[in-house]
């Protein structure tokens, strides 16, 4: 029993060490330098997307970083269909996405 739980701990450690490098670690400072394509719409209070439908674009400041990455990946994979966002997401690497998510996760402007 004791041996088994130790084995489990060992297994978990091995899995954890494998999993960590696979997830891109976001760097908010690097993220800030990559926002030029985002800020023209998401940085303007009340900004409305004009095509194909008119609605205010979502606020990004303070959003869950995991969701921002998931949203960008969904655009890149064609699971979300906004033309501008698809084009932008297509140009981003996973590291870019993680950096942008880390930057926007903090709601403050700095």
């Amino acid at each position: 029993m004791k041996f088994r739980s130790l084995t489990n701990v060992g297994l978990f450690a091995v899995l954890a060490s494998l999993a960590v490098p696979l997830l891109a670690e976001g760097d908010p400072v690097a993220g800030k330098s990559k926002t030029s394509m985002c800020a023209g719409c998401h940085g303007i209070p009340g900004f409305r997307a004009a095509y194909p439908e008119t609605y205010r674009v979502p606020k990004l400041g303070g959003q869950n970083p995991g969701y921002i990455v998931a949203a960008l990946k969904a655009y890149k994979a064609g699971e979300r269909n906004h033309a501008t966002m698809k084009a932008i997401a297509f140009s981003l690497t996973e590291q870019d996405m993680a950096d942008l998510a880390a930057y926007y996760a903090d709601a403050g402007n700095k």
Partner: protein, 109 residues
């Protein structure tokens, strides 16, 4: 007489249509129990990091998101079936409710 009748009927029709599609945040709160399980009871504390905060997001964006899930043009295995069950009125009400909540979200440049 006929003109008056037409005016009244048309007026009533417009009033009814207006009433049917006006967003009602209080009604939205009633309908939000399904949402709260994942997005958090305050719309600001999602269960996992992959789920978005909704509190304070613009109502028209939230409506668009739900419409797209319902139409299947925004593909997500959790949200597509959820949105299937929502009427146009439900979508308006839920969007108004979450837009009215205060949370972490803000415009960041």
């Amino acid at each position: 007489m006929n003109k008056l009748l037409i005016a009244i009927i048309a007026g009533a029709g417009f009033a009814a249509a207006d009433g049917a599609f006006a967003a009602d945040a209080a009604a939205g709160k009633e309908k939000a129990q399904m949402c709260a399980a994942c997005h958090g009871p305050d719309g600001n504390t999602p269960m996992t990091p992959e789920f978005p905060k909704l509190a304070g997001q613009p109502a028209d964006y939230l409506e668009k998101a739900l419409r797209d899930y319902k139409k299947g043009v925004r593909k997500n295995p959790m949200m597509m079936p959820m949105a299937q069950g929502l009427s146009k009125q439900d979508i308006k009400d839920l969007a108004a409710y979450y837009a009215s909540l205060k949370g972490d979200l803000k415009v960041k440049y």
